[in-house]
C-alpha cells in the first residue's frame, strides 16, 4: 500500500496551498445568495400556514443546512482539469508515478477543511438564533449525515472528473459543466427542497443522481427521513457513485489512449 504512505505528504502539500488561498474561498461563499432569496420567499409564504409540511423555521433550517452541505460536497475541478488537458500540462502529471486523480482528490479534501471551518460558526449561530429546533443532532442521525456527506462528496468529485474527461474530445467542457451545475442545483435540493415539487416529480427526483450531494445530507440533518428511508436513499446514492466511478474510469482510459500532448 504505497499510496497510504504517499497520501499524508500529498495532503500536506495541498493543505498549505489551500491555506494560502483562503480569501478565494470567501468569494465562493457569496454565490449562496440565490437559495437564500428562495428561502425568504418560502418563509413569507409559510406565514399563513405551513407549505407542504414546511414551517418558516423548517425552511430556515433547510436552507442553512443546504448552504453548508453545498460547501462540504460541492467540487469545482473541471476548469483546472480542462486546462491541463487543453494545454498539454497533463503530461507532467502522467509521468509521475501517482495517478493524476490523487492530486485532485488531495486538493479537494484539503480545501474542504478550510471552507467548513470558516462556515461552521456562522451557520451554528444562525441555527441557534432562529426559534425552533431545525437540526436532528442525535448521534445515530449524525452518523447517517456524515456518511451521506462522504457519499455526496465522492459523487460530486467523480461526476466532475467524468465531465472533465470530455476535454479529451471537445473544447466546450466548461459549458457542459455549467449546464450540469445548473440542472443539479434545481433538481438536487439546493434551490428548492425536493418535497416541494409536485408529488410524482418529488418521488422521481429521489431516485436520480442529483439528490446525492445536497438533498440527501440536508434531509437527514434536518430530521426529515425515517432511518429506513435514509438507508434506502443512501443505497441509491452509493449505486450512482459506483456507476459514475466506472464511467469516469472508462472515459479517462479512452481519453488517455487517444491523448497526445501539444508539443510532445
Amino acid at each position: 500500500m504505497r499510496i497510504l504512505k504517499v497520501y499524508p505528504a500529498l495532503l500536506r502539500a495541498y493543505w498549505e496551498r489551500a491555506a494560502a488561498y483562503r480569501a478565494v474561498f470567501m468569494v465562493s461563499l457569496l454565490n449562496a445568495v440565490f437559495p437564500l432569496v428562495m428561502m425568504a420567499i418560502w418563509i413569507g409564504m409559510a406565514q399563513d400556514g405551513p407549505v407542504a409540511g414546511y414551517t418558516a423555521a423548517d425552511f430556515a433550517g433547510y436552507y442553512l443546512a443546504a448552504v453548508l452541505v453545498r460547501r462540504v460536497t460541492g467540487v469545482g475541478i473541471v476548469q483546472d482539469v480542462e486546462r491541463l488537458i487543453r494545454t498539454g500540462e497533463l503530461t507532467v502529471y502522467l509521468i509521475r508515478p501517482l495517478d493524476v486523480i490523487h492530486h485532485f482528490s488531495a486538493r479537494v479534501l484539503t480545501g474542504r477543511v478550510v471552507v467548513v471551518s470558516m462556515l461552521l460558526a456562522p451557520v451554528a449561530l444562525a441555527a441557534l438564533a432562529i426559534p425552533g429546533a431545525q437540526f436532528d443532532l442525535q448521534p445515530a442521525n449524525l452518523l447517517f449525515f456524515i456518511l451521506a456527506c462522504v457519499i455526496g462528496l465522492l459523487f460530486e468529485f467523480l461526476a466532475q472528473y467524468l465531465i472533465s474527461a470530455l476535454s479529451f474530445w471537445i473544447v466546450q467542457t466548461q459549458g457542459v459543466a455549467a449546464a450540469y451545475q445548473f440542472v443539479k442545483a434545481f433538481l438536487g435540493g439546493y434551490i428548492v427542497p425536493l418535497a416541494l415539487f409536485p408529488a410524482p416529480l418529488a418521488a422521481a427526483l429521489t431516485w436520480l443522481p442529483f439528490q446525492c450531494s445536497v438533498a440527501l445530507p440536508v434531509e437527514i440533518l434536518t430530521g426529515r427521513l425515517a432511518p429506513e428511508q435514509a438507508a434506502l436513499r443512501l443505497g441509491i446514492s452509493a449505486a450512482w457513485v459506483t456507476l459514475i466511478a466506472l464511467g469516469a474510469r472508462a472515459a479517462w482510459r479512452a481519453g488517455l489512449r487517444g491523448y497526445s500532448a501539444a508539443g510532445a
Binding site: L30, A40, I41, W42, G44, M45, A178, F182, I191, L196
Partner: protein
C-alpha cells in the same frame, strides 16, 4: 440653453460612437451571442420554473398572481441585461485602469470622465437577457389579456428608465469606490447578490426584508415598481418616490465620482 443643447448633442454622438465601436467588437465573436442567448433562456427557464413551484402551493403570493409575477421576472431580466452588458464590463475596465494607471488617458480627454469611463463599453452579446425579459413581459400581458392604457405604458417606461438610472448610479459608485480600495471584487459580488432579490415581487418577501428592499435600499424599483406601473396599481406617491430616488442616486454618484477623480494619484507617479 443653447450651450446645454450643444453639449447634449455631442454626448449623444459620443454614445453612438461607443455603441458602434462595441458592436464591431461584438461582431467579431458572433458565436458568443448564441451562447449568451442560450444561457439567458436557461436562466429564464430556471426563474419561471422556480416561480411555478411557488404557485403550485399558493394561488397568489404577496397579492401577485403567477402571470403578474412573470412581468416582474421579465423586468429583472431586462435589468440584468443592462448589468451584464454595461455595468460589469465598464466597472471591470475602471478597476483595471486605476490599477495600471491607464486612467490617466481617460482623464486627459476633453469629455466628462465619468461618462467616458462608465459607458465606454457595451457587450452586445449580453443584451440577450433584454430580449428574454421583453418576451416574458409580452407573454405575461397576453396571458393576462391586459392592454395597458397609454399613460400606464408611459409610467412603465419612465420607471424602467429610473431603474436603469439607479443601476447606473450604483455602477458609477462602485467604479468610484475602486479609486480608494483597489480590489472591489468582493463588494461587487455582494452588490450583485443583493440585486438577486429583484427576481420576485417585493411583496413576496417577509418583513423586515420587504420594507428594506421597498424603501431603504429600493431594489423594488428595479423590477416590482415598473411592473406595478404596467398593471396600473402603482400609487402616484410611490412613483414619485422612485423617480426622486433615482435622481438623487444619480446626483450622489456624480459627486462621488468627482471626489474619486480628485483623489486619484495615477499608478506611475
Amino acid at each position: 440653453m443653447r450651450g446645454w443643447f450643444e453639449a447634449m448633442r455631442r454626448y449623444l454622438g459620443l454614445l453612438r460612437l461607443f455603441a458602434q465601436n462595441s458592436l464591431l467588437t461584438s461582431l467579431e465573436y458572433r458565436v458568443n451571442f448564441a451562447g449568451a442567448l442560450l444561457i439567458s433562456l436557461l436562466d429564464a427557464l430556471w426563474a419561471v420554473g422556480g416561480a411555478l413551484l411557488f404557485y403550485t402551493h399558493r394561488s397568489t403570493i404577496g397579492g401577485w398572481t403567477f402571470h403578474e409575477a412573470l412581468i416582474v421576472i421579465g423586468m429583472f431580466f431586462v435589468a440584468s441585461g443592462f448589468v451584464d452588458a454595461v455595468m460589469q464590463p465598464n466597472v471591470r475596465d475602471v478597476i483595471e485602469a486605476v490599477r495600471t494607471g491607464a486612467m490617466d488617458y481617460v482623464l486627459i480627454r476633453p469629455v466628462n470622465a465619468m461618462f467616458h469611463a462608465t459607458l465606454r463599453r457595451l457587450r452586445f452579446d449580453k443584451c440577450s437577457s433584454l430580449l428574454v425579459g421583453a418576451l416574458l413581459i409580452g407573454y405575461a400581458l397576453l396571458q393576462l389579456r391586459l392592454r395597458p392604457a397609454p399613460e400606464q405604458w408611459l409610467l412603465f417606461i419612465l420607471l424602467s428608465l429610473a431603474a436603469i438610472a439607479l443601476l447606473y448610479a450604483l455602477m458609477a459608485a462602485l467604479a468610484a469606490l475602486c479609486f480608494w480600495v483597489v480590489d472591489i471584487a468582493n463588494i461587487d459580488e455582494l452588490v450583485m447578490g443583493a440585486l438577486e432579490t429583484a427576481r420576485f415581487p417585493a411583496q413576496a418577501f417577509p418583513e423586515p426584508l420587504r420594507g428594506l428592499i421597498s424603501f431603504v435600499i429600493p431594489i423594488a424599483f428595479i423590477s416590482t415598481a415598473p411592473a406595478e406601473a404596467l398593471l396600473g396599481r402603482l400609487t402616484p406617491a410611490l412613483a414619485l418616490y422612485g423617480l426622486a430616488f433615482a435622481a438623487a442616486a444619480l446626483w450622489l454618484s456624480a459627486r462621488a465620482w468627482r471626489r474619486a477623480v480628485a483623489h486619484y494619484t495615477s499608478a506611475s507617479s
